[in-house]
């Protein structure tokens, strides 16, 4: 085992240095800034596109007192009633017909007085606006007849509510934690897919396979990518914190998780690491089978969809803490980190996390072993012989000096 870890660190060091020293890494670190700029730009465009159309205007051709009452009544009603037309008092002497035939005509013209109003419009307007205009007229007439009653509004300070509400709200923290974990894992772990392509295209894999255990190659590559991912997350977190400080209270605050923020953040880092290693080992195993970059790209889509499916399952488990669904989400290796982080947000116990972290580590190792076995069998064209070779050894009666201890 020591030899496996030693060799893995040699690979990790090489890969990490190559990754971090490349110019592409700088662009990679800038990814969230680019995303933020794009999001802000898209938001601006969306807001512009979503701007409501101009409100229909009804011209009021009445004495100024009546016009003022109508406009005041319309303003009061506007808070409670949707779809009211805007009212625009016309000061110049003109007729309803000339207004409707003008260059920028209103949808209707209200003339006469409050006691004898008249609404003029075209056929469509005559069907659509009378009810709404009548509502405004009634309100204006009502305001004229009755004095408005002042409403006495009082605010009473109550003692803080018990934890029930907070517990309910913690599911929000759990979901936000899961979402952050999912996005970072999906963004970063997928890169592992193409990680062995360089070794295969440059024929370096032959030297590596003859020098160190295949598990060390996989593990080393995962360590390097994980280290790179943690650096990226640290940089992005610093960027996010700067924005948070700048935004101040404008940012929404989350209810504190059940284990407290420091432990929750620590668990978040640990669960990101295990999620990364779990998905990374799977991706590395799958990617190692691919012969070309094109094949890797083809594999990326189903792999991402699979990751999304696991995330949705873990999301469903957020609202079922302690149920069978949540237990299953914690046990199934790929959903386990997501479900466990949600648990940390909603339940204060620490020991389940120690068990789950150990479980996820074991699953990672098992996936690596499966991946390396498949790699040796399908890519290096080895395998199928170990069982027979052992049988041959047994038949040979242990001739010669035989080391059965494996790598030490």
């Amino acid at each position: 085992m020591n030899e496996i870890v030693r060799a893995a660190l040699v690979i990790a060091r090489r890969d990490f240095t190559a990754l971090v020293r490349s110019k592409a890494f700088i662009f990679f670190l800038l990814t969230p800034i680019v995303m933020l700029v794009v999001a802000v730009a898209a938001g601006g465009i969306g807001a512009r596109m979503a701007k409501p159309p101009a409100t229909p205007v009804v011209a009021v051709l009445m004495p100024s007192d009546d016009s003022a009452r109508l406009i005041a009544a319309r303003q009061r009603l506007d808070e409670a009633v949707d779809g009211l037309p805007a009212l625009e008092a016309v000061r110049t002497a003109t007729s309803a017909e000339s207004l409707l035939r003008g260059s920028n005509p209103p949808v209707a013209v209200l003339s006469g007085t409050l006691d004898a109003p008249r609404l003029s419009s075209d056929g469509e307007g005559a069907r659509h606006w009378p009810d709404r205009v009548r509502l405004i007229l009634d309100q204006a007439r009502h305001d004229a007849d009755y004095r408005r009653v002042a409403l006495d509004v009082r605010t009473i300070a109550l003692p803080a509510t018990p934890a029930a509400d907070a517990e309910v709200d913690r599911s929000t923290t759990a979901q936000m934690g899961q979402m952050a974990l999912f996005l970072t894992t999906m963004l970063l772990a997928g890169m592992v897919l193409s990680n062995l392509v360089e070794e295969k295209t440059n024929k370096i894999i032959e030297i590596l396979a003859a020098s160190i255990p295949m598990e060390s190659i996989f593990l080393g590559k995962l360590f390097a990518m994980l280290a790179m991912a943690l650096i990226a997350i640290a940089a992005w977190a610093a960027f996010g914190a700067a924005i948070g400080l700048a935004a101040g209270s404008a940012l929404p605050s989350l209810p504190p998780p059940a284990v407290g923020w420091p432990v929750f953040i620590l668990l978040g880092i640990l669960y990101f690491s295990t999620a990364y290693l779990l998905f990374g080992s799977l991706y590395l195993g799958i990617g190692a089978m691919a012969a070309t970059v094109r094949e890797v790209q083809t594999l990326a889509m189903p792999v991402n969809m699979g990751q999304l499916g696991v995330f949705l399952f873990a999301s469903y488990a957020v609202t079922h803490i302690g149920d069978g669904v949540e237990m299953a989400a914690c046990i199934i290796p790929f959903s386990s980190p997501f479900a466990a982080l949600a648990r940390a947000a909603q339940a204060p116990d620490i020991w389940p996390h120690l068990v789950l972290l150990l479980w996820q580590g074991l699953c990672t190792w098992a996936i690596i072993r499966i991946g390396t076995t498949l790699f040796r069998r399908n890519v290096l064209k080895s395998g199928g012989g170990r069982r027979r070779r052992k049988a041959t050894r047994a038949g040979a009666g242990g001739q010669g000096q035989v080391d059965r201890s494996g790598p030490s």
Partner: protein, 323 residues
Amino acid sequence: MTPPAPSSASAIVAEGLVKDFNGFRAVDHIDLTVPAGSIFGILGPNGAGKTTTLRMLLGIIDPDEGRCTLLGHDRPLSVAKQVGYLPEERGLYPSMTAGEAIAFMGALRGLPLAEGRRRARDLMEGHGLGYALKRQVRQLSKGMAQTVQLLGTIVHEPRLIILDEPFSGLDALNQQRLEEMIRAQAANGVTIIFSTHVIAHAERLCEDIAIIAGGKVPFAGPVEEARNRLRPRVRLETRAADGPWRAALPPGTVPQGRHWRFDLPEQGVEPLLKALIEGEAGIMSLSIERPGLHDAFVAIAGASAAADLARTSGSQNAAEARP
């Protein structure tokens, strides 16, 4: 054939190695014993099973049948730190510097990086490449890159070096350097096993060889033993083209005008000379030639394997003029 008895002085022992690929038997019950401290050549045309055999010896792939030990261990990775390997398909990380690439290959075999860097510098300078120490691999010529990889193979001072077609792609000068490097390593007690389809390299370097053809090993042993399998050839030139003395020529003599070629008779040339003199053949010249490794290869592996070998090595023959 019966392999030589394995002993503690054997760097490699392989018994009955078999490897099939999708129903094709690439290696068919191969036995090999490589004496420690020797230069051992594996000869055979492309596709004969040389690389597959080496990969099985190194543990890169498992044999379907048979067993092998490397430096006395049946798990090659457990002695990886004492082994150097240069694969047929060369490979280096293009973005690494030459020095870092050598140190990295040493680190894979357990050499501390700092020591690897120091040795890389010494090796590069020793081979006249000190100026390229900090150059990226992608900036090196093909020959330089191959030299860098070779230096990476020996940087950790292994006890056993396995080279798969090491001369492939090298010009005559670099081939000569490589031969010198192999001899220098052997002089330090290192066992070297290399595969080649160029017989001249094996003939110049090896004490022992294995001939592989069609996945089998029809011969494994000292080069001298392979050559001694053939009778020496006699070349005779006579003044007379015919006469009763011709009856004294051994059966199977190949006539070419007044030139005659035949295997050295078991009783030697003296009785023949006497008959030629008495028959007044007029001996113009007579020479006895020991058969070369190529003749031995043809005799052992068969004409078709020899033809394959000649075909695959054809492109290299021009460059293999004795340095």
